[in-house]
């Protein structure tokens, strides 16, 4: 059933980005969330293979704390999920931190659809490979 479909969870507090990414990833089953509670419940419900995660989420829109908190929680829920960090911050500290917490990729904003698509595709392939080996 859903196991075979390509499932993508987009976590972003910007409604425009959410809807446009949904259109951009029309070859995926796209689910969206705009805050932590929402993200966790969507994640638990649909078990997406790839997640794009904006670090700046309410209540800490201008920082990264909420995004990292979600990253930590998702990885502990399902370590095999490929999580792509989409961040407004270009700070290498954040990139390192994301990598150490187990993120698949750190993608700095602004979003370019073609680039992001390639990364998401790569992440999905990696997810499938890991699944096969298992």
């Amino acid at each position: 059933m859903i196991e075979t479909s390509k499932r993508l969870l987009i976590i972003d507090d910007d409604a425009g980005i959410r809807s446009q990414l949904k259109w951009g990833f029309d070859d995926f089953d796209v689910y969206t969330a705009d805050n932590r509670a929402n993200a966790i419940s969507q994640f638990k419900q649909y078990h997406p293979s790839v997640v794009t995660l904006d670090l700046g989420l309410p209540p800490d829109e201008e920082g990264e704390s909420e995004g990292f908190a979600i990253l930590y929680q998702l990885i502990s829920l399902a370590p095999e999920t490929k999580i792509i960090i989409v961040s407004g911050s270009e700070s290498p500290i954040n990139a390192d931190k994301a990598a150490s917490l187990g993120a698949f990729h750190y993608y700095p904003k602004p979003i370019n659809l073609e680039q992001l698509k390639q990364i998401v595709e790569k992440a999905y392939q990696a997810y499938l490979m890991a699944k096969c080996k298992k």
């Binding site: 425009g16 980005i17 259109w23 704390s65 370019n112």
Partner: protein, 703 residues
């Protein structure tokens, strides 16, 4: 005869000293002047007795001087008595005193007349019964007045003044004894007479003690304020030292002559010459002189300044809040006013390490800078010395003896410049002040001035440093604000670029799909909204979030419902004990904060535990309690870590309780925590209520 000479000579010298010391004072009030005159009269009389004992003659002078001396003491005692009566408001007695004074004066005149009628030697004149009786009467009168005065001295002054009355009383008492003895045996006892000089001499230290004990006698309004000139004491000390030295030389010379054998005379001459040369060397040694001077100043005198006054004035000058005068000018002024300097310039250290002029007060603006490695700066920093440029010009040794010091050329050019005061901050030279010549303090500048200037320099330095760090803090805050704003702008711009470029990319594929077009329009609209928000924020219109009034209870219902849906156990139970109550806050932020605390509670509590959310009101506050039966926290954790930013038990970087409390405090509320390890935690949030004030306002406006 020798005993007589010695005895009266000592008395004469001591009284003379006392009189001079009293005359050197600054505030010349009547009792003090009278005391000085009495002392000098005594000195003159004793001197004349000495002269008479050695050379004979001068009988008439000696006799009149003794009477004059007595008269002077009487006058002094009467003046004191008057002030004593004044202070006890016994006005009627004043008349009697004046009367007594006049009558005593007349007695003195009669004595003189009697003397003039008789002739012969001193002792013969004295031996006349009537004259003796007169003398006796004077001494009795003196005793009576002294006793009167003592009884009229206020209790609290007796401690100081008793020595006075003791001194003068004993003088008269001895005279009384002497003359009554003479009257009885019809001759003056030689031994008693000879001892008289010593007795009088002994009185002087007693008077000295009295003056020392009460520098300002406050018998009534007049008082004796003995201010001893430093210079007089210095010279007296020098003379005394020379005198002692001479006596020692005398003994030395005598010893050499007695026991020197054939070489006696030559050895004595050589010894004397050597000793005198040594004396001259010592006298003319400037260093020794200045050391002795400082020693005397430091140990024997009251301070030049009233430090309490100075301190109050300095603090007042520094801390006064005036817009017209900048702190730096006030800093210069606080230093200048100590020594009445008419102007000054302040140099401060810059980040480059150079000292640049910062402020001018009544001085031409000077632009000269000084490098931190110049000998001038190093001297100020290491020696922490006030440089007196006048002194440096005449005697550079004083400074260069300590360290290398070259006065910079630009400073030499400033003719007005007088003092350079270091402003030390810890061990660093924060800056320095150059002060202009003071017309009054010019000559009496001493260690006390430099000590005070140095200390005030420190005070000023820390004041300036504190001020500039406060300013730096404000700047840093502004900078932080701008940083935050620009981060926000970059964040939003990236999002807008992202979504618009996504629209463009997606359009290639979906432009014929009406649903996409609809979404695209929404996205563009979203961007426009964002740009408007951004614009208003850049203009500074809306800093942060909005304040709206809403019902707290229904917000809580929403939050609790959202938490229940998250699928984490236990599910919180809400108990609203009040009807709708309004608070003013940002809905979303408040909801996020509450959700955060609830989530923490859920994380801390086992699935079979309980979480109760209770809302109530108390004293104009909405009181929200979130109580769980979780693992709890110990006191140390609450105190040291709970309210710290970026702290969490979960090892993640969630918004901490810190941020929640910050927000609640911003709303005028408070966040409290009660917890016991193993039992659970209560978070209590107090938010000011709106409804009450609304009600009173509306009733007031309707009434």
């Amino acid at each position: 005869m020798i005993i007589e000479v010695l005895s009266f000579a000592v008395a004469s010298v001591l009284f003379c000293l006392l009189g001079l010391v009293l005359f050197t004072g600054q505030r010349n009030n009547l009792p003090k002047r009278m005391l000085a005159i009495s002392a000098l009269a005594s000195a003159a009389w004793a001197g004349s007795v000495t002269y008479q004992a050695i050379y004979g003659g001068l009988i008439s002078l000696t006799l009149s001087l003794e009477l004059l001396r007595s008269l002077a003491w009487f006058a002094f005692l009467l003046v004191m008595l008057r002030t004593a009566y004044n202070s006890t408001d016994n006005v009627s007695k004043r008349f009697r005193i004046t009367f007594a004074g006049v009558s005593l004066f007349i007695i003195g005149l009669i004595m003189l007349a009697i003397y003039r009628l008789s002739g012969g030697s001193f002792f013969e004149v004295i031996a006349g019964n009537d004259v003796l009786a007169g003398y006796l009467l004077i001494s009795v009168g003196g005793l009576v007045i002294t006793e009167q005065l003592y009884r009229n001295t206020p209790e609290d002054h007796r401690w100081a003044l008793k020595y006075f009355w003791l001194a003068i009383g004993s003088m008269f008492a001895y005279d009384f004894y002497l003359y009554s003895d003479a009257l009885l045996f019809q001759r003056i006892d030689n031994e008693l007479w000879n001892a008289r000089g010593f007795i009088h001499a002994m009185v002087v230290p007693l008077i000295g003690v009295a003056i020392k004990r009460e520098m300002q006698w406050s018998l009534g309004k007049s008082s004796i304020d003995v201010f001893i000139s430093r210079r007089i004491v210095f010279h007296t000390t020098t003379l005394l030292a020379i005198g002692i030295y001479m006596i020692l030389i005398g003994f030395g010379g005598y010893y050499v002559r007695e026991y020197g054998g054939d070489w006696g005379e030559i050895a004595q001459a050589t010894f004397m010459f050597g000793a005198v040369v040594t004396l001259f060397v010592l006298i003319f040694s400037g260093k020794l002189r200045s050391r002795v001077k400082v020693l005397i100043d430091k140990h024997f005198f009251h301070y030049k300044y009233d430090y309490r006054e100075e301190w109050l004035r300095i603090i007042r000058t520094l801390s006064v809040n005036s817009d017209s005068e900048r702190l730096h000018e006030r800093a210069i002024r606080s230093l200048a006013q100590i020594i009445d300097s008419p102007g000054g310039v302040l140099w401060l250290k810059r980040e480059t390490g150079r000292y640049e002029p910062e402020s001018w007060w009544n001085m031409d603006s000077i632009k000269s800078r000084e490098n931190e490695d110049s000998s001038f700066i190093r001297f100020l920093e290491e020696q922490q010395f006030v440089i007196n440029l006048d002194e440096f010009r005449t005697d550079p040794e004083v400074y260069t003896r300590l360290a290398i010091l070259e006065i910079p050329d630009w400073l030499k050019v400033i003719k007005k410049a007088w003092l350079v005061i270091p402003l030390m901050l810890k061990d660093e030279l924060h800056g320095f002040v150059v002060l202009a010549h003071s017309p009054s303090h010019h000559r009496y500048f001493n260690w006390e001035d430099t000590d005070l200037l140095k200390t005030v320099g420190r005070q000023v330095a820390s004041h300036i440093a504190q001020n500039s760090s406060a300013r730096a803090l404000i700047n840093a805050r502004r900078f932080e604000e701008i940083n935050r704003l620009s981060a926000f702008i970059v964040h939003d711009l990236k999002n807008m670029i992202g979504q618009l470029s996504l629209v463009v990319s997606n359009a290639a594929k979906h432009k014929n799909n009406p649903l996409f077009i609809e979404d695209a329009v929404t996205t563009v609209e979203n961007s426009v909204q964002k740009m408007n928000k951004l614009l208003s924020r850049v203009k500074g219109e809306v800093p942060g979030d909005s304040l709206v009034s809403f019902d707290f209870c229904s917000l809580l219902e929403d939050v609790v419902r959202a938490r229940s849906k998250a699928g984490i156990l236990p599910i919180p139970v809400l108990k609203c004990r009040v009807g709708p109550i309004n608070i003013s806050a940002d809905n979303d932020r408040m909801a996020a904060n509450l959700g955060h605390i609830l989530e923490n509670a859920q994380d801390a509590t086992n699935e079979d535990g309980h979480i109760t959310v209770t809302l109530d009101t108390r004293d104009g506050f909405a009181v929200l309690e979130i109580e769980d039966t979780g693992c709890g926290m110990d006191e140390k954790f609450i105190k040291e870590r709970l309210f710290q930013p970026f702290e969490s038990t979960k090892g993640t970087m969630g918004i901490g309780v810190f941020q929640v409390r910050e927000y609640v405090q911003k709303l005028g509320g408070e966040l409290e925590v009660e917890s016991e390890p193993g039992k659970g935690t209560i978070f209590r949030m107090l938010i000011p209520l709106l409804s009450d004030s609304n009600v009173t306002q509306s009733t007031m406006s309707s009434a």
